[in-house]
């Protein structure tokens, strides 16, 4: 069994990811792609996944494709980041410790009713959580993992 803590530790990431002082935004800042800073058209996206690598790579991809993306690795941090970022879109994994993506989505929706929520999940088991949320009146869209970055970008742009 692989040690996931080791996998997610800094040595597995490209060095440039870690050169930034701002650990919350390593990819977008260091990817070498100029972000379209200040543009009103740039959608603010909060990317949440307890798999750091996913959160970081997704945020990096979005940042080079005209979004302003920020990543968070759990629900609590995500709520805090949302207050700073005021995201138009929250993209979150479903299965996370302490606070699931569904819970996070509901909390975000309550605080930022305009914010769109996208969940992505690697397994169908989350459908139970989804049904529950929908039954409670929360329209949450679910993407399956893995989703190809181009498809994700197209989905987000299509909003």
């Amino acid at each position: 069994m692989l040690d996931r803590t080791a996998l997610l530790s800094s040595e597995f990431l490209p060095a440039e990811f870690l050169s930034s002082d701002d650990q919350s935004r390593p990819f977008s800042e260091q990817s070498g792609i100029s972000p379209n800073a200040g543009s009103h058209t740039r959608l603010r996206v909060l990317v949440v996944d307890d798999e750091r690598l996913i959160a970081e790579t997704v945020a990096a991809i979005l940042n080079v494709n005209g979004f302003e993306a920020v990543e968070a690795f759990n629900g609590e941090d995500a709520l805090e980041a949302a207050h700073k970022l005021q995201p138009e879109i929250v993209l979150s994994d479903v299965l996370m410790p302490k606070m699931s993506g569904v819970e996070l989505g509901i909390r975000i929706r309550q605080e930022f009713p305009e914010t769109k929520i996208f969940l992505f999940s690697g397994q169908a088991a989350t459908s139970e959580l989804m049904r529950k949320a929908q039954a409670d009146g929360y329209a949450i869209e679910l993407f399956p993992k893995p989703i190809h970055p181009e498809d994700l970008i197209a989905k987000l742009r299509g909003l």
């Binding site: 069994m1 996931r4 790579t57 991809i61 410790p97 690697g122 088991a125 893995p146």
Partner: protein, 767 residues
């Protein structure tokens, strides 16, 4: 002195050790000798004191003497002597005191017997010169001329004479002399060493020579030859082998020591038990008749044919028969009695002079109830006759009662039968030797055999192939331990699943058998469905574990592809992607293993397998912040089906995760049981979750029982229990819902070999 000894001897068999019996018999014998001596001396002193009151009667001396003499017949015969009795009817009556005459005759015969080792003893009574003459001639050792004049002296014993015994008081002949003189007669002895001795007694006819006041005219036929007993008894003791039956009878009668056996003399009448005696020997008939006549109605006949006729005319309570008889011998009589319904149950005791175990077993084999070898004692005869008659009466009584009881029992049995036939279950009763004593139609149907082919056979014969099913050990256990057993297995010959409950009793085993094939088919279906569902759920779990790294890989490749940055960065993206792909392949390799061939048992490292299961649930464990604690010993491999083990521990771990929504600790313990216990592994899955309420625990392993209606199917733990049972293992659960120490522990005992029989489907044991 002798009375108590008799008492002891008559009760001896069960209570006394043989050595003590022999000693008491010796004392008894010497006691009898002393008694005889004392009595004789008393006779003398009475005679001399003139106190003996002789009473002279006219007696048929020939008949009387012949009868007396015959008492010695068997002793003489047994000694191999040629014993001749000639008693001619006398022309005139002879007046004698019967008791005294007895003593005269018997002393002379006793003396002749004692000193005649071979040859002849001849008693003759005849009329000679107007007198009755009794002579007793023997071919014995003889008496020397010097001794001859002194033989009638009191206490004179001839030294060196070779006789049967050195016992002797030297008083017998002196008494004879005295008694003869009292009768106005004379006694003489003639003898020659090596040739023999003759004693001659002469008594005048008539009564003119006797005192008139001592003459009795009544014709008292005194109690026959009772006084003969001590003489014959004594004579017989001189023979190797001891006294024979008939003499003993006389003696016993005389001494009246048989009172306990004879009991109260019963008045003759129809109420008395009847004994039929068949013996061609007149003496024997008379003695036995006299002995048994006090208590029983005795019919005596002289051969088997007459006995059979008498038995048919009036079936007796007992038949005593000699073996050797003219016309119809004892064995033929026995067969005829047994062949006839009216007499078949009558006890038969065979009497025979043929000694030896051979003839005894011959008699018993022929169907006699008992066998008495002559010589037998009166005690023996009375005891055996008494016991057989009372047994016979008891049997007759029981038979009539048994008929009532049987009627009752049959009625009850019919009711039970009706019940047993009407129940839907098969019922079978086997005795302790496994013979089928009762079976109903349902059993026949279950076994797919006709009912008629079951009854009277052993269980194994009745149900061929049962040995291959696991019922047999369960039945044997029930029979051996007296404990009820429940068992379920597939019975191949009828292709049915049978659930059997075996109830032991002192008489055997009652088995109730139920066809549970339908239920089993449903269970099998359910199990299969659940297996597929579990597989599906597991696939979803695994999918998550695979899809996450794939997502990362896709992103990294996209970044590498679209990045304008320098090659070194691109290479780093790709290296990270490669690591993620390695992760995917690791998970695939370890978690999808159980999808491979699962019907072949293999040696499995259980700790490693449980690690694989934990890998599958890694995301859920992390998502629920569950800490894993391992307490895993170094344990040997178990032989099992990988897929089954995987499913069991997946279900348990998944359950534990469900119970710990708000985090907690999952502890996995694996160890071998304490020494002396079963060979296998003990695995505990312990969570600190919400716990199971006590009232739910008994239903925990029931299919469709769930406390998580929105999430669970209620099959998880049922599947676990089914598999564990099929391995021959056990599962225990303990749970606590108190907030302080809440949590649930499942403990599984997994046998070293946990693979079920390949031919059969898993067979749950009801727990």
């Amino acid at each position: 002195m002798l009375g108590p000894l008799e008492d002891v001897l008559s009760k001896r068999k069960p209570s006394l050790p043989p050595e003590d019996v022999r000693q008491i018999e010796t004392v008894h014998r010497n006691g009898l000798r002393l008694l005889k001596l004392v009595n004789t001396l008393l006779d003398f002193s009475r005679i001399e004191a003139g106190r003996i009151q002789a009473l002279y009667r006219p007696v048929d001396l020939a008949a009387r003497t012949a009868e007396l003499a015959s008492v010695f017949r068997s002793a003489m015969d047994r000694a191999g002597l040629n014993y001749k009795i000639h008693c001619e009817p006398l022309p005139k009556p002879v007046y004698v005191d019967i008791d005294m005459w007895e003593k005269i005759v018997l002393n002379l015969l006793s003396n002749a017997f004692k000193f005649t080792l071979q040859g002849t003893v001849e008693l003759t009574l005849s009329s000679v010169d107007g007198q009755a003459e009794l002579s007793v001639r023997d071919t014995g050792t003889g008496i020397s001329e010097s001794e001859l004049p002194r033989v009638f002296e009191r206490f004179h014993r001839i030294e060196g004479a070779s006789g049967r015994t050195h016992e002797g008081t030297g008083i017998g002949l002196a008494l004879v002399d005295e008694l003869v003189r009292l009768h106005g007669g004379t006694v003489q002895a003639q003898s020659k060493i090596g040739v023999g001795t003759t004693f001659t007694v002469r008594i005048p006819f008539g009564a003119s020579h006797l005192p008139a006041d001592r003459i009795a005219t009544d014709d008292r036929q005194a109690e026959n030859t009772l006084g003969a007993a001590p003489f014959v008894q004594e004579a017989l003791r001189w023979l190797p082998g001891g006294p024979s039956g008939e003499e003993q009878l006389v003696k016993d009668l005389a001494n009246e020591d048989l009172a306990p056996l004879l009991g109260q003399k019963q008045a003759a009448g129809a109420d008395r038990p009847t004994v039929l005696l068949a013996d061609d020997n007149r003496d024997m008939r008379e003695y036995v008749q006299r002995l048994l006549g006090r208590k029983y109605n005795v019919t005596a006949v002289e051969d088997g044919a007459r006995a059979m006729a008498a038995a048919l005319a009036n079936p007796p309570d007992l038949v005593l028969t000699d073996v050797m008889m003219p016309r119809m011998d004892g064995f033929d009589l026995l067969r005829s009695l047994r062949d006839n319904a009216a007499t078949a149950a009558v006890p038969v005791i065979m009497l025979s002079a043929r000694a030896g175990e051979e003839s005894e077993s011959e008699g018993l084999e022929a169907g006699a109830d008992d066998y008495l070898v002559k010589p037998f004692t009166a005690r023996e005869l009375l005891a055996r006759v008494g016991s057989h008659i009372s047994m016979h009466q008891l049997r007759r009584e029981l038979t009539s009662k048994e008929h009532q009881l049987r009627t009752k029992a049959e009625k009850a049995e019919q009711q039970h039968r009706a019940i047993l036939e009407s129940i839907s279950e098969g019922f079978i009763f086997v005795d302790r030797d496994w013979y089928v004593r009762y079976a109903n139609e349902q059993v026949a149907a279950l076994g797919n055999v006709p009912l008629s082919s079951i009854l009277g056979k052993t269980l194994w014969e009745a149900f061929p192939g049962i040995e291959n099913a696991s019922f047999v050990p369960a039945y044997r256990e029930a029979m051996a331990t007296g404990r009820v057993t429940h068992h379920e297995d597939f019975y191949e010959p009828s292709r049915r699943w049978i659930h059997a409950n075996a109830y032991p009793s002192p008489d055997g085993l009652s088995i109730f058998a139920q066809d549970v094939t339908e239920r089993r088919v449903q269970q099998e279906k359910l199990l299969l469905t659940e297996k597929l569902a579990a597989t599906g759920r597991l696939a979803a779990t695994i999918a998550h574990e695979i899809n996450n790294p794939l997502e990362s890989v896709l992103n990294l490749i996209y970044l590498a592809r679209t990045s304008p940055a320098q090659m070194s960065k691109i290479r780093e993206y790709l290296q990270t992607a490669e690591k993620e792909l390695n992760r995917v392949s690791h998970i695939a390799r370890h978690t999808l293993g159980f999808y491979r061939e699962t019907s072949i048992a293999s040696d499995i490292d259980l700790p490693a397998l449980i690690e694989e299961v934990l890998t599958v649930y890694d995301s859920r464990l992390r998502a629920s912040s569950i800490v894993i604690v391992r307490d895993v010993a170094i344990v040997p491999a178990v032989r099992a089906l990988r897929g089954e083990l995987h499913q069991v521990f997946s279900n348990l771990i998944s359950n534990a995760i469900d119970a710990m929504r708000d985090g907690g600790q999952l502890k996995i313990s694996i160890r071998e049981p304490e020494r002396g216990h079963d060979v296998g592994l003990l695995v505990a899955v312990e969570d600190t979750g919400i716990g199971i309420p006590q009232e739910n625990i008994p239903r925990l392993f029931e299919p469709f029982f769930t406390t998580k209606p929105s999430a669970g199917t209620g099959l998880g733990l049922w599947v676990v229990s089914q598999f564990v049972a099929s391995w021959g293992g056990t599962i225990k659960v303990s749970s606590n819902t108190d907030s302080e120490k809440q949590g649930t522990t499942f403990t599984i005992f997994l046998p070293r070999v946990a693979a079920p029989d390949q031919k059969k489907k898993p067979q749950p044991r009801l727990m």
